[in-house]
C-alpha cells in the first residue's frame, strides 16, 4: 500500500464505524464500542505510519514534495473541482496529536459511560444515567452508577466526528476541509445535545450550531470568492507566488481591501466561530452540557483547534503581501481578536465555579493565544501551541471528567443531590483519586506554562518571545497578562478540587475511576510533558542546543519561505517565568484551604467586578437582547405576520375583494338591471298579454271557429280594401 492510499483511507474507519453502529449494532453496547474503538485504533495506526514516514522523509523534503494525491470530483463548466489528500509537515504533526487524542478519548468514553455497570432504575434515553440500585450478598442495597442508555449512539457520533476531523486534516483543498469542518459542527451539535432531554442541553446545542454557523456562512463566502478568483481550492495551487500576487493586487469590492485581504478576513471569521473567539465565543462554555469526553475531544483538542488549524493552513494567503513588521489586514484582525480573546476569557475563567466551564474559558483563551500568534506571524509558535494545547487541554478535560465521575459516584453512594461540576463541592480529592490528581496537576502546570518541564511553557514562551522579538508590544503584554490569569485560575482550580479537605459528604466517598479512564490520562500526561522538548529554542540558556529544535525545523518547512527563529531575549523569558510562577503561587495562596460552605475568597475584594465576571460580562444577555429576540420578532411578527400575512396576503385578498366588488357591480348594475331586465321584460310582457288574452280561450270549439272566421273575414277585408292586395 502506498502512503497516499493510507492517507486516503485514514478518515474512513470511523465513518464506517458510524454507519455500522447506526445501522446494525446499535442494540449491542459491546459490539458498538469494539467497532468504534477499533476504528479509532485503525486510524491511529494509519496516522502513525504516515507520521513516521513523514519523519523518515524529513521536513525539508516533505515541505517541498508532500504526500499528495487528488482526483476529479465535481465537473464545473470546462474544468473539474479536484479533491485530494495532502500530508505536509504541518498536517503530519496535526495528524499525530489528533490520532492520539482521538484514540485516548475513545477509550476513555468506555469508562466514562459506565460500561459494565447495571442498567439504571429509571434511566431514559436523553437523560444522563441516574444510578442503579443493586443488592449485595449481605442484602444491603447500594446505589451505583448505571450504564448510559444511549451508549451505542455515543460511539456512533464520536465516530462520525473523528471522520470529520481526519478529513479536515488530510484534505488538500478548502472544499473537503469545509466538509469535514461542518460534519464536526454537526457532531458537536449532536453531542452537546447528547442528553437532549435536558432543556439546558437543548439550548446549548442550538446555540453552538448557530453561532458557529455565523462564522461558517462567511467562510463559505470566502471559499466561493477564493474559488472564483483563482479557479482552484487546492492549497498548494493557491499558495504559488503568482496566484498570491494576483490576489494581493486585485481590489476587493468592499473596504478598500485586496482580494487576499477580504478572503482572509472571511475565512478568519469562520475560525472565529469555530474556535470560539470573541465575539462568537459564547457557545463554547455552554457546550459543556455535553458529556465530558465530548468536551475534551471536540471542544478542546480537535474541533476548536481545527479553526486554528485552518488559519495556520491558510497562513500563506493571510500573510500574502506582508512586509517585515507590517501586518496585513487579516493578520491585524487576528492579532487583535486573538489577544483580546486571550485576556478577556481568562478574566471570566477566574470567576467560574463549574470545573468544566473554567476549562472552557481557558480553551477560548488559549485559542486566542494561537490566533494572536498567527496574527503577528509566529507561524511555528502557533502550530506548536496548537499541538501542546491539544494534549494538555484534552488531559485536563478528561481529568475533570474523572473528577466529576468520582464525585458523582460518591453522591450516588451517599444519596446526595449536588452539582457534581461545582468545584466548591469538592476539595481534598488528592488522596481519593491519586492518578487523576497527578495527571491533572501535570496538565494544569502545562496550561500555566510551568517552566522547563511542561510543554505549555515552551510553546507559550515561543509565542511570547515572537511577539516581543517582532516588536508587537501590545500583543505581548496582553498575552502576558492573560498568562498570569491563566496560571492563577488553573491553580485555583487545582486547589479547590484536589487540595484542602473534602467540602461535601459526596466528595469524601469519591474514588478513583476505572483503568479505561485513567490510562488515557497517563498517556496524555506523558505528551503534555515531553512534547515541549521537541521545540526548545536553540539559544535558550543552558538547555538550548541539548535537543535540536525539531518542531521548528519540521513544521517550519511547510512554508516555502522557511520562517526564521527570533533571536533570544531575556525579557520574554523572565516575564513568562514570573507570570507562570506568580500566578500559580497566588492561586495556591488564595485557595489552598477553602472551608466547606465558604464564599469565593475573591468575591469580597473584587466586589461588583466579580459579579460581572461571573456573568461573563453579560454577553449572553446582551446577545439575547440584541440579536436573538429581534430575530425572533422579525421572523414571527415582521416577516410572517406583517409582510406575508399582512401586506402580501392582504394585497391578494384586496385584489380578491376588488374582483368581488367588480363582479358584484357588474351583476348588480349591468347584469341584473340591463341584461336580465330586458330578458325579464320580454317574458313578463308576453305573460301579461297571455293573462289578458286568455279569456278568449274558452275551450269551446264553436267560439274558436267564430273567432277564426271573424278574423279571416276581418283580415281579408283589411287586406282587400285597405291595403289593396288583389
Amino acid at each position: 500500500m502506498t502512503i497516499e492510499t493510507i492517507i486516503w483511507l485514514l478518515p474512513l474507519p470511523p465513518l464506517l464505524a458510524f454507519f455500522l453502529i447506526v445501522l446494525f449494532t446499535n442494540r449491542s453496547k459491546k459490539l458498538s464500542h469494539i467497532i468504534a474503538v477499533g476504528a479509532a485504533l485503525l486510524s491511529w495506526a494509519g496516522s502513525m505510519v504516515v507520521f513516521f514516514r513523514a519523519l523518515q522523509v524529513g521536513g525539508h523534503h516533505l515541505g517541498e514534495h508532500p504526500f499528495t494525491a487528488a482526483i476529479n470530483w465535481l465537473p464545473l463548466g470546462s474544468g473539474w473541482l479536484r479533491i485530494g489528500v495532502l500530508v505536509d509537515p504541518l498536517s503530519a504533526t496535526t495528524l499525530f496529536f489528533v490520532a492520539w487524542t482521538v484514540l485516548t478519548i475513545f477509550l476513555y468514553s468506555v469508562g466514562y459511560h459506565n460500561y459494565g455497570q447495571p442498567k439504571g432504575d429509571a434511566d431514559r434515553m436523553g437523560l444522563p444515567p441516574g444510578g442503579a440500585t443493586v443488592t449485595d450478598e449481605h442484602g444491603h442495597k447500594h446505589t451505583v452508577p448505571s450504564v448510559e442508555p444511549m451508549y451505542s449512539r455515543f460511539f456512533a457520533f464520536i465516530g462520525l466526528f473523528a471522520f470529520g476531523m481526519y478529513l479536515l486534516v488530510v484534505s488538500d483543498n478548502l472544499f473537503t476541509s469545509f466538509v469535514g469542518w461542518e460534519i464536526m459542527g454537526l457532531c458537536s451539535y449532536l453531542l452537546i445535545g447528547f442528553w437532549y432531554g435536558k432543556a439546558s442541553a437543548r439550548a446549548a446545542m442550538i446555540k453552538a450550531f448557530i453561532t458557529t454557523r455565523i462564522g461558517d456562512v462567511f467562510m463559505l463566502l470566502g471559499i466561493a470568492y477564493l474559488y472564483a478568483q483563482t479557479g482552484t481550492l487546492t492549497f498548494r495551487q493557491i499558495f504559488t507566488p503568482q496566484i498570491l500576487h494576483e490576489l494581493v493586487s486585485t481590489p476587493a469590492p468592499v473596504l478598500g481591501l485586496s482580494a487576499a485581504g477580504l478572503i482572509g478576513i472571511l475565512l478568519f471569521i469562520g475560525t472565529v466561530g469555530k474556535s470560539a473567539q470573541w465575539p462568537l465565543h459564547v457557545w463554547l462554555p455552554d457546550a459543556m452540557e455535553g458529556p465530558t469526553p465530548v468536551s475534551a475531544m471536540i471542544h478542546a483538542a480537535t474541533m476548536v483547534s481545527a479553526g486554528v488549524y485552518m488559519v495556520i493552513r491558510m497562513f500563506p494567503l493571510l500573510s500574502a503581501g506582508a512586509e517585515h513588521a507590517h501586518l496585513t489586514t487579516p493578520m491585524m484582525a487576528m492579532a487583535f481578536i486573538g489577544a483580546f480573546t486571550a485576556l478577556f476569557s481568562a478574566t471570566i475563567a477566574v470567576a467560574q465555579n463549574d470545573i468544566k466551564r473554567v476549562l472552557a474559558y481557558s480553551t477560548i483563551s488559549q485559542l486566542g493565544y494561537m490566533v494572536a500568534a498567527l496574527g503577528i506571524g509566529a507561524y511555528v509558535a502557533a502550530a506548536f501551541h496548537l499541538v501542546t494545547h491539544a494534549f494538555f487541554k484534552a488531559l485536563l478535560f478528561l481529568g475533570s471528567g474523572s473528577v466529576i465521575h468520582g464525585v458523582e459516584h460518591g453522591a450516588l453512594y451517599t444519596s446526595m443531590h449536588l452539582d457534581a461540576n461545582d468545584m466548591f463541592n469538592m476539595g481534598g480529592l488528592k488522596k481519593k483519586m491519586p492518578i487523576t490528581f497527578w495527571t491533572f496537576l501535570i496538565g494544569g502546570f502545562a496550561l500555566s506554562g510551568f517552566p522547563v518541564l511542561t510543554a505549555g511553557f515552551w510553546s507559550k514562551d515561543e509565542i511570547l518571545s515572537d511577539a516581543f522579538g517582532h516588536g508587537h508590544h501590545i500583543v505581548f503584554w496582553t498575552l502576558a497578562a492573560a498568562a498570569l490569569l491563566t496560571a492563577f485560575y488553573t491553580m485555583r482550580q487545582i486547589s479547590l478540587t484536589f487540595l484542602g479537605k473534602p467540602r461535601t459528604e459526596a466528595t469524601r466517598h469519591a474514588h478513583e475511576t476505572p483503568w479505561t479512564m485513567t490510562t488515557p490520562l497517563v498517556i496524555l500526561a506523558m505528551f503534555a510533558v515531553t512534547f515541549g522538548w521537541l521545540g526548545v529554542p536553540e539559544h535558550f540558556p543552558v538547555l538550548g542546543g541539548l535537543l535540536p529544535n525539531w518542531f521548528h525545523d519540521f513544521v517550519g518547512s511547510t512554508l516555502t519561505e522557511h520562517p526564521e527563529t527570533v533571536p533570544f531575549n531575556f525579557v520574554p523569558l523572565v516575564v513568562s517565568l514570573v507570570v507562570a510562577l506568580g500566578g500559580l503561587s497566588l492561586g495556591w495562596l488564595v485557595y489552598r484551604n477553602v472551608p466547606a460552605g465558604a464564599q469565593d475568597p475573591l468575591k469580597k475584594p473584587l466586589g461588583k467586578l466579580y459579579t460581572i465576571l461571573q456573568h461573563k460580562y453579560y454577553f449572553d444577555e446582551m446577545y439575547d437582547f440584541l440579536f436573538v429576540r429581534p430575530a425572533t420578532w422579525i421572523s414571527e411578527v415582521f416577516a410572517y405576520q406583517w409582510i406575508d400575512r399582512g401586506v402580501i396576503d392582504g394585497l391578494l385578498h384586496a385584489i380578491a375583494a376588488l374582483s368581488l366588488k367588480i363582479g358584484s357591480f357588474l351583476r348588480n348594475y349591468i347584469d341584473i338591471p340591463i341584461v336580465n331586465g330586458s330578458g325579464d321584460l320580454a317574458g313578463n310582457t308576453i305573460k301579461r298579454m297571455g293573462v289578458t288574452f286568455r279569456v278568449l280561450q274558452t275551450g269551446r270549439v264553436q267560439q274558436y271557429m267564430v273567432i277564426a272566421i271573424l278574423t279571416t273575414v276581418t283580415f281579408g277585408a283589411v287586406f282587400y280594401y285597405l291595403l289593396g292586395w288583389h
Binding site: 470546462s78 436523553g126 451539535y189 437532549y196 437543548r202 446545542m205 450550531f209 462567511f218 422579525i634 421572523s635
Partner: protein
C-alpha cells in the same frame, strides 16, 4: 423492445395516464388492491426513465430521444418531445417521487381510487412539461398539472383549520388553499398563454428549438411597437408565470397555504416537482428566448431571489406549525435556484454562469429530494399525533428513535450540511453568483444562516427537550412502509453529497452546450 426503445418518452409520458384508466376498472372498495396496483404501475415510468438515464449520451449536444407527431398542423404545432440533461434530471426526479408519494399515501382511506387516478394524471402533467419541445404542448401540460393538484388539496387536504378572508368571512383552510393555488397559478398562466400565442403567430412555429432561432432573429417592429418593447412584455409574461410557480418572493404566499393543507403525498409532489416547473420554465424558455431582456432584468430577479432566500428563511423560522415551517423552507431553497438563474442570465456564457446554472439545476433536484423527505416526515409525525403544532410535540426522540434519526438526516440535507446533497448545489450557486452579484450573494447568507435556525428549531421542538408525557405510549415508531419511502431519498442525498459527479456531469455538459 424496439418499440419501447423508439417511443421511450411517449411511453413514459402516457403510461401514468393509462395506469389511471386501468385503475378505473378496479372496484372501489378493494382499497388495498388499488393502492398496490397504483404503486406497481407507477414503477413502470420509473423503470423507463432509468432506461432513459442510462441510454442518454451526455456528450451529444441537443435533445435526445426525440419524437415528433402531427398534432395541430394548421397552426404549426406538433407533438414534439425530447430531453436534454436538464429535463432528463427532472424527469428522473418526477418518476422517482411519484411512486414514493403513492407509497406514502397508503394511509388514505377515502375515495382511494379517485385519489390514485388523480395522482397518476398529475404525473403525466408534470412529465409533459419537462419533455415538451413544442410551446403549445408545454402550455397544455403546464395547465393539466393544475387540475389534479387542485382536487388533491381540496378533497384530501387537511380537514382542520379555517382561514379568515377579507371581510371576516371564514372558509375551511383547504378550500382557501386550493382556490388560492389554482387562481394564482391561473393568473400567471394567462399572460403566458397570450405570450405563447404571440410568439407562435409571429414566428410561424411552436417548435421550441425552431422558435428560439426564429424569434431571436426578428427585427424591426411588431404590432406597431418596437420589437424591444414587445419582447420585454413577453418576457415579463413568461417570467411572471414562472415566478409564481417557483415561487419567487413576493408571489410566494400561495405556497405555504397549499403545502400546509395538501395531503402528505400532495405536499411531497408539490414541493418536490411542481415548483421545479417554474424554474424549468426559466431555464428552458426564458433564458434562450429572451437573452437580452433576461440580462436587463437579471438584477431585479436577483433581488427577488435574495428576498426569497431571506424572507423564506425568516418566515420559516417564525412558524409554530411544523408543516408550514417546512413549506416556507421551499421558498428559501428555491430562492437559490432563482439566484443562480439570475446570475446566469446576467453573464450568459461565462464560466461563472455555467457554474451558477449547474448549481441551480442541481439545487432543483436536491430540493426535490429533501423537501419531499421533509414533508413526508412531517406527515409521519402528524399521522401519529394529529397535530402540526410544534408547541405540542416536545422531546419525542426517545419514543421514536428511528424517526428521529431519519428526521435529523433529512433536516441536515435540507440545511445544506456538507457531505449531503444540499450543500453541493448551494455552494455552486454561491460560487457562480458571487462574482456576478456579489452584494446579493453576500446578503443571501443571512438566509443561509436562518436556514440553520429554522431547521434546528424544528428539530428542537419535535425531538429534543424534556419528554412530553402526553405522548408516551401513544406514538409508534416508523413502520417499514414508511422506511421504504424515505430510504431511497436518503440514499440519494448521501450519494449526491459524496459523489455528485454522476448527475452533475450530465447537467454540466448540457448547460455548457446550451448557455
Amino acid at each position: 423492445m424496439d418499440f419501447v426503445a423508439k417511443h421511450l418518452l411517449t411511453l413514459t409520458l402516457f403510461i401514468p395516464t393509462l395506469s389511471g384508466l386501468i385503475l378505473l376498472f378496479f372496484p372501489s372498495e378493494k382499497k388495498n388492491v388499488i393502492r398496490w396496483a397504483a404503486f406497481v404501475l407507477s414503477l413502470i415510468p420509473l423503470a423507463l426513465s432509468l432506461m432513459l438515464w442510462f441510454n442518454y449520451e451526455a456528450s451529444i449536444p441537443g435533445f435526445q430521444f426525440q419524437e415528433q407527431y402531427h398534432w395541430y398542423s394548421a397552426i404549426q404545432a406538433s407533438f414534439h418531445l425530447g430531453v436534454d440533461g436538464i429535463s432528463l434530471t427532472m424527469v428522473l426526479l418526477t418518476t422517482l417521487l411519484t411512486p414514493l408519494s403513492i407509497l406514502a399515501s397508503f394511509n388514505i382511506e377515502e375515495r382511494v381510487k379517485a385519489y390514485m387516478i388523480l395522482f397518476l394524471l398529475l404525473e403525466t402533467g408534470m412529465l409533459g412539461v419537462f419533455m415538451a419541445l413544442d410551446l403549445l404542448i408545454f402550455f397544455v401540460f403546464w395547465e393539466i398539472g393544475l387540475v389534479p393538484m387542485y382536487f388533491l388539496i381540496n378533497q384530501w387536504g387537511s380537514e382542520k383549520g379555517e382561514r379568515t378572508i377579507w371581510g371576516g368571512k371564514q372558509i375551511s383552510a383547504r378550500t382557501y388553499a386550493s382556490i388560492k393555488f389554482m387562481i394564482y397559478t391561473m393568473a400567471g398562466s394567462l399572460g403566458l398563454l397570450l405570450a405563447v400565442q404571440m410568439l407562435g403567430v409571429v414566428s410561424g412555429t411552436f417548435d421550441i428549438p425552431l422558435l428560439i432561432e426564429k424569434w431571436n432573429a426578428i427585427q424591426g417592429s411588431l404590432f406597431g411597437l418596437s420589437i424591444g418593447t414587445v419582447k420585454a412584455l413577453a418576457f415579463w409574461a413568461f417570467a411572471l408565470a414562472f415566478a409564481i410557480k417557483v415561487p419567487v418572493w413576493p408571489f410566494h404566499t400561495w405556497l405555504p397555504d397549499a403545502h400546509t393543507e395538501a395531503p402528505t403525498a400532495g405536499s411531497m409532489i408539490l414541493a418536490g416537482v411542481l415548483l421545479k416547473l417554474g424554474a424549468y420554465g426559466f431555464l428552458r424558455l426564458v433564458l434562450p428566448l429572451y437573452p437580452a431582456e433576461a440580462r436587463t432584468f437579471a438584477v431585479a430577479l436577483a433581488f427577488l431571489a435574495t428576498m426569497a432566500i431571506i424572507f423564506g428563511a425568516l418566515d420559516s423560522y417564525g412558524q409554530d406549525d411544523f408543516k408550514r415551517l417546512v413549506a416556507y423552507s421551499s421558498v428559501n431553497h428555491m430562492g437559490f435556484v432563482v439566484l443562480g438563474i439570475a446570475a446566469a442570465a446576467f453573464k450568459a456564457g461565462s464560466e461563472n454562469a455555467t457554474i451558477a446554472i449547474n448549481g441551480a439545476v442541481l439545487q432543483m433536484f436536491n430540493h426535490g429530494l429533501s423537501a419531499a423527505g421533509m414533508f413526508f416526515l412531517v406527515g409521519v409525525i402528524y399521522e401519529r399525533t394529529h397535530t402540526r403544532s410544534l408547541k405540542e410535540y416536545g422531546g419525542l426522540f426517545p419514543l421514536v428513535p428511528v424517526f428521529g434519526g431519519v428526521l435529523i438526516f433529512v433536516s441536515m440535507s435540507s440545511l445544506g450540511l456538507p457531505g449531503l446533497n444540499g450543500f453541493i448545489s448551494e455552494f455552486l450557486v454561491v460560487r457562480g453568483a458571487w462574482p456576478i452579484f456579489t452584494f446579493y450573494t453576500a446578503l443571501s447568507m443571512v438566509g443561509l444562516l436562518f436556514t440553520g435556525a429554522y431547521i434546528l428549531k424544528g428539530l428542537k421542538e419535535v425531538l429534543h427537550g424534556p419528554l412530553n408525557e402526553k405522548w408516551v405510549g401513544h406514538i409508534k415508531e416508523m413502520n417499514s412502509r414508511e422506511l421504504v419511502v424515505v430510504t431511497p431519498l436518503m440514499a440519494l442525498m448521501l450519494l449526491i453529497g459524496v459523489w455528485p459527479a454522476w448527475i452533475l456531469d450530465v447537467i454540466n455538459r448540457t448547460v455548457e452546450m446550451l448557455f
